[in-house]
């Protein structure tokens, strides 16, 4: 029932939410996750293509790069609606940071090619930046990479990777084709079923025209993409929280024990109210982050995004836990979708910064100011 209430003067957001809901009716979220688990995959190409056709894989890309040229508000509403229905393709994890990395890079043919592919769905362009142990060398043909990157979503389905790495020459954004010799992908199952990978580079050669962007530090390259990805994740998590809540409220009204629906027991009612308040808080935090980040990426925006991702992550996981419990034995089965809500919440809450570390970052940042 709770929703992010974002200023929507011309009704764009309402329309977008409606299309997302219709999309979810055609591409069932829980089945999608189950099939990823069975196939050890990370992206469902059919759903992905449909998302690209809807303009969602390039939603944040400027129109000049073939994208939809939409903003944070639209991304938040979309991610929230998909989270609500548990449609778990990695838009927030992959497309959002990819789009911002490309949008921030200076013009180049490679950037044009990748942006077009990202938007059309022809290419799956996957950023990789976490826990780098990469060293960058040089030889006649260009750069030589050795080392690893971790926690890469969509890597098994990627056609191209966007690496954010640093060497003695400073930080750079590199594109590397997924089939480049010297690059291997090692996957592990995510808790929700979607594979999460590490990239391993062993004397992997990259031509210099694949350097898309250069800055003094990885932080400067990642600042924008990370803010926006965390915001989109907060939205998806808020949606998961609201979806799990609504399913549980519905279940509690129909499940009868001791001659009454369990929703009529005061202890259950108060628990549901507490869950609802947590979901409302997540939505309110999300709205603040959308407003602040839309107004610029200064301190206010940073704080609001940290707060939103932390709150939404905690809300989704803790609502998920209580939702499983309130579903009783049924909630502990794999057949019941509520468990998938919890698992998806666990995955996204831990992704790109878990609540505890985001809170500490918030306080460090605020007190340093």
């Amino acid at each position: 029932m709770p929703r992010a209430i974002i200023d929507d003067a011309d009704g764009t957001l309402a329309l977008l939410r409606q299309s997302a809901t219709q999309f979810a009716a055609r591409h069932d979220g829980p089945s999608g996750l189950r099939s990823k688990r069975a196939q050890e995959s990370d992206i469902d190409r059919q759903t992905w293509t449909a998302m690209a056709e809807a303009g969602w894989t390039g939603l944040l890309l400027p129109e000049s790069l073939g994208g939809a040229g939409l903003g944070l508000g639209e991304q938040a509403v979309l991610s929230e609606a998909l989270g609500y229905a548990l449609v778990a393709e990695p838009l927030a994890l992959v497309c959002v940071p990819a789009a911002i990395l490309l949008a921030n890079a200076p013009p180049s043919p490679e950037r044009t090619r990748l942006a077009a592919g990202l938007a059309s769905g022809d290419r799956v362009v996957v950023p990789a930046w976490q826990d780098p142990t990469i060293t960058i060398g040089r030889d006649a043909a260009g750069l030589v990479l050795n080392g690893d990157l971790r926690f890469v979503d969509g890597a098994r389905s990627a056609t191209d990777f966007l690496l954010v790495v640093a060497g003695v020459e400073g930080a750079m954004l590199l594109s590397v084709p997924a089939d480049q010799p010297g690059l291997s992908v090692l996957s592990r199952p995510g808790v929700d079923g979607a594979a999460i990978s590490s990239l391993s580079f062993s004397a992997c050669r990259v031509a210099t025209d694949r350097v898309l962007d250069r800055r003094d530090s990885r932080e400067m390259l990642l600042r924008g993409p990370l803010l926006q990805a965390r915001l989109a994740l907060a939205a998806e998590l808020a949606g998961i929280a609201c979806g799990a809540l609504d399913r549980t409220v519905d279940y509690s009204k129909t499940r009868v024990q001791f001659g009454k629906p369990i929703a009529s027991f005061q202890a259950i009612q108060h628990r549901l109210v507490e869950m609802w308040m947590d979901a409302e808080l997540a939505c309110a935090a999300l709205v603040r982050a959308v407003e602040r980040l839309s107004a610029g990426d200064g301190q206010e925006a940073h704080l609001a995004v940290l707060a939103a991702k932390a709150r939404a992550g905690d809300a989704a996981v803790s609502i998920g836990r209580r939702a499983v419990h309130l579903h009783g034995a049924m909630g502990y089965t794999d057949e019941c979708a509520i468990g998938l809500y919890l698992k998806r919440a666990l995955n996204l809450s831990a992704a790109f910064g878990q609540p505890e570390s985001l809170r500490l970052e918030f306080v460090a940042r605020e007190r340093a100011a």
Binding site: K260, Q269, H270, F362
Partner: protein, 385 residues
């Protein structure tokens, strides 16, 4: 005082109000330890507001109010809190005025409203009774009509600042036969100087006397002091809060307490301890997000909407958070959490125990949080039975 405050931008109004308060609210009244001063203790401030025409933010201008929109009213209340202005005895302004404006006779309005603005009349609110707390509809104080007067008998309790008031706005039962308990209740304006009124102040956990018992023995109230229709007082009483319900969940109190916690923690070096920082971070973000949630409801008002039952969530969150912040103050106070009096923090005094004890009250009064949850379960989640 001809400013049309509603015509100003939010920021301009905020600045105007802040500057004027800085210049006109006596420094010794700022950030008072006492939550509920008596009229005499804050009369200067009350009169300064009255003279400026800023005493009654929501009354229409024709009655001497500011006629603020809800959006501007929120700014008024926020700045009041942030600047540490003392609470004034506000039942006349916040409760009796709006009720008379809506339900009063022309004579009642003409008589009572100016006397509220002048401070001549100080009002209190006679709602709760010993056996009618959260369950207000079970009230038993009875008023029986005899000719031109009602004879009132019964007892009110938790009557805030009754010992500093001269009038009481009182809910009484006028029909004992009504089947639905909410019916048969009326609203009377009762002169506390009347024979048969006895007021006993009650000390609270902090050793202050915020509230009183009021005993009513054959108190004669003129029939013209009835507000609204006979036996329809429940509607009258319930109608009054309107958009002001949002303030029960304002982040002001938690924000103030968090500021005190920060001062104490800085003075004691607690920010060097990651265990404290981790706990502090949780409280800090809870305050931050409570403010975001408050904004969500404030936006409803700004857009001209009306508040639903869901606004109660703010009250639950704000009151529980206020408690948790004060509990953390005692944790970092260590052995000094044994004291009743204030703690030294650099060149300041931090009233940690005072705040801890004060924080017990808001979760109880104004409808205990359990009652709020019952309401939310039904009204928002649509849960059965």
């Amino acid at each position: 005082m001809a400013e049309d405050c509603n015509a100003l931008s939010d920021e301009a109004f905020r600045r105007l109000f802040r500057d004027w308060v800085q210049a006109n609210c006596p420094p010794h009244l700022r950030n008072m330890r006492k939550q509920r001063p008596l009229f005499g203790e804050v009369a200067d401030w009350y009169r300064a507001l009255a003279q400026k025409g800023w005493l009654a933010p929501t009354w229409p201008k024709e009655h001497g109010g500011m006629g603020l929109t809800p959006a501007k009213h929120i700014i008024y209340v926020e700045e009041w809190g942030r600047l540490g202005c003392p609470r004034i005895p506000d039942h006349g302004i916040g409760l009796v005025g709006p009720l008379l404006i809506q339900y009063g006779t022309p004579e009642q309005k003409a008589h009572y409203l100016p006397r509220i603005l002048s401070g001549e009349d100080v009002w209190c609110q006679g709602y709760s009774e010993p056996n009618a707390g959260s369950d207000l509809a079970s009230l038993r104080t009875a008023a029986v009509r005899e000719g031109d007067v009602f004879i009132v008998n019964g007892q009110k309790i938790w009557t805030t600042l009754a010992h500093g008031a001269n009038w009481m706005f009182v809910l009484v039962r006028t029909d004992r036969t009504a089947k639905v308990r909410q019916n048969g209740i009326s609203v009377l304006l009762l002169d506390l100087k009347s024979p048969g009124v006895r007021i006993r102040p009650i000390a609270n956990l902090r050793g202050e006397t915020d509230f009183c018992e009021v005993f009513l023995d054959d108190v004669r109230v003129p029939a013209e002091n009835l507000v609204g229709e006979l036996d329809r007082g429940w509607t009258v009483a319930k109608s009054v809060l309107g958009h002001e319900r949002i303030f029960l969940g304002a982040p002001t109190r938690p924000e103030y307490a968090l500021g005190r916690l920060e001062r104490l923690a800085e003075a004691r070096g607690a920010f060097a301890d990651r265990a404290f920082v981790s706990r502090y971070a949780r409280l800090r973000l809870d305050v931050y997000d409570l403010a975001s949630a408050f904004e969500r409801f404030a936006n409803v008002l700004r857009r001209g909407g009306e508040l639903g039952a869901d606004v109660s969530m703010l009250k639950i969150l704000a009151t529980e958070l206020y408690q948790r912040i004060t509990e953390e103050m005692l944790t970092i106070a260590g052995e000094e959490a044994r004291f009743a009096d204030d703690l030294e923090a650099g060149n300041e005094q931090i009233d940690a125990m005072n705040l801890f004890l004060d924080s017990r009250a808001p979760a109880i009064f104004g409808g205990a949080n359990e009652i709020q949850k019952n309401i939310l379960a039904k009204a928002v989640l649509g849960l059965p039975g």
